[in-house]
Amino acid sequence: MSPEHRAVSRLYGRLLGLYPRAFRERFGESMQQTFDDLYNEHQRQAGRAVLGFVLRAFIETALGVAQEHLLLVSAGGVIRAVQTLGISALISFLLVLPLMLMQLINRRGLNEEFPLVLFIGFWLAPFAIGLMLLPIARAWRRGTHRRPNGRTAHTSTLLTNPVSSAAISLGLLLFTLMQVWLSAVGWAPLARLLNGPNPEVAYLPGQLITFGFGLLPLAAGVVASRPIVHTLRAGGSLVAHPFHLILVLGLASLLAVGFGLLLVDQWPCFVGVPNCD
């Protein structure tokens, strides 16, 4: 095996490592052998472009990796995700509903518009906490009825592997922190992206991008919770991944504190104090 072949083969092995564990364990070695056979064939036949073959094989295998991960999203998984979204949304709405009613009743004579954006903010915080903690609670309930075995088969490894999920969630958090810092120092390209050419005029694309940035910490929390959910479903311990648990609880606490501070800040408005803002 030539040094080039060895290097490409090792890189291909890394790519195969991205397959779901069950698939990798079953076919990884054979796929590596087949790739090496094809490489040798291309190298033997003068005139056949090895680079073209390597590129095609890597792209085709990367698509295979994505396909196998997508196929793991079972109908049950989709139903569970929809249930989590629905239950979190409903609980958040029920939490915010009394505040909405107080606002409507106590401020009906003040000729003010209903502060919809404020209530969306109020609703989002417990919704986000629910998205992080509800799957953990459900997995824990399910896991207590199962004999501990440490792991379940046929699941995606990218999000259930503690290291890769930590890397993804920390990457998302770092991106958010970077964006907050750049906004704070008034970095012109970001300010233009978020505020548009005229900062005095409302800029919808910028508002949508800001909303997307706001969802990143939530995504980080959901990703960080996946190894915990995976371990609990298999009957494992809640503290099997202490770092992830700290990360999830930290984010949930941050959102809860934000919700509490907003509530304290806006409380006079709910009880009907004029010019409360």
């Binding site: 076919f27 054979s30 087949t34 790739f35 056979d37 094809l38 085709e60 295979g64 196998e68």
Partner: protein
Amino acid sequence: MFHILLALSGGERHGYAIMKQVEADSQGKVSMGPGTLYGSLKRMLDAGLVDESDKRIDPEMDDQRRIYYRITGLGAQALAAELERYRRIVALAQQRKLLPRGFYVA
């Protein structure tokens, strides 16, 4: 899947040999990479259309031991059903005189 079943109808083959057989059967028109081949093989194994044998060395290749795949009874039935479907389509085309000149079906 049809091409893989057709390739395995001639006997047990390992992954690389299946690819080469598919290429030969289709006169180079069908060429699949490892991602497509093993993704298909997984689904065919799960469906019981193919089976895998123990690892062994291919005397025509290097000294590495390879997993061989073989068609099952169910796989042979599925292949026969698909070929029968093609035969009926060709027969219908023949009946309607849609086949090109020189194309003959017994």
